[in-house]
Symmetry: C2
Subunit: 185 residues, 2 copies
């Protein structure tokens, strides 16, 4: 494994979360994070493409979970239903990490650069979702539209989930947002 202690990756992620919460994203240098994690700045950039990426280490997992759920959804589900099933599955990964999600949300909300990166990850999620829908035989532009709509529902539901005092399940938040979307005319 590594030269010293194991799980350098996790240590850097945790160090970054701490430092960003303490002093803010811009007031934290990549070297600061590396130092707290007990590695070198160079090592930090071997694990993460850039400074922001350290906050998005689990986005691929989220994506994969969504895609699998979409492909496993009942064959007679509409494209939107299937996509929403993917969002519910993705949300499930966060269900027991509410506090962590709240902290992370606060950090990202405080910095435009991080919001930018979050949007890119959500766009990737939407594209993966659209790809899964196409795998189910959905044609364009329906695949893209359903995928993007589902991700929007995820965003709205997630925002309520992290903002609520007495948080309901994230599944409820997503389902409510989905209902509100369908109510649009």
């Amino acid at each position: 494994m590594g030269r010293w202690e194991p799980d350098a990756n996790g240590r850097m992620v945790r160090a970054a979360m701490e430092l960003f919460a303490e002093r803010g994203f811009e007031q934290t240098t990549a070297g600061d994070i590396a130092a707290r994690a007990g590695v070198t700045e160079r090592t930090f950039f071997r694990h993460f493409a850039d400074k922001r990426e350290v906050l998005f280490d689990s986005s691929r997992t989220l994506e994969r979970t969504a895609v699998e759920a979409i492909l496993a959804a009942p064959a007679d589900d509409t494209p939107l239903d299937a996509a929403l099933a993917g969002m519910l599955a993705a949300g499930g990964l966060l269900e027991d990490r509410h506090e962590h999600s709240v902290r992370r949300f606060a950090i990202i909300s405080a910095n435009p650069g991080l919001q930018e990166r979050e949007l890119l990850k959500l766009a990737a999620l939407a594209e993966a979702t659209a790809g899964a829908l196409r795998g189910r035989g959905v044609a364009e532009p329906a695949a893209t539209l359903a995928a993007q709509s589902a991700v929007t529902v995820f965003q709205v539901g997630f925002a309520r989930w992290v903002s609520a005092e007495q948080p309901p399940g994230i599944g409820v938040c997503i389902a409510d947002a989905a209902a509100a979307l369908r109510a649009l005319r």
Copy 2:
């Protein structure tokens, strides 16, 4: 006005478009753009917050146009209809700049960092749209959902408009995308 020739801003925008098309975004330094525009690198950063921003100089205009159209939409329009009216108005600004839009789209598509910035601008457009809908009395989360849906329609319509060999009007592309969205179940 300026110390030398007028319209330094426009010169920098044009120089950037040329250089990005010639060598790509990453292979172009801020100093390169400034030099071709006949100014200093420092002046470039006085006009644009960062190197990417030079490609998004007109996004505020787009936003303002959309908001005005939404506020001017018939009172009995549904939230989604009003938001889509805003998108059509915004698209109208691009109607007679098809070639420029194609070139710009190609540049942005070739670079993840620029896509990130584009997503941020679209998110800002969505937020402005949601604000305009709230101004019409639309409550949350309907305002956000309708706004985001409209922006998605804009994206899909725009993508077809810049990709089509024989381009129809951008209004047609947006209207078609809107119809496809409503056809989702």
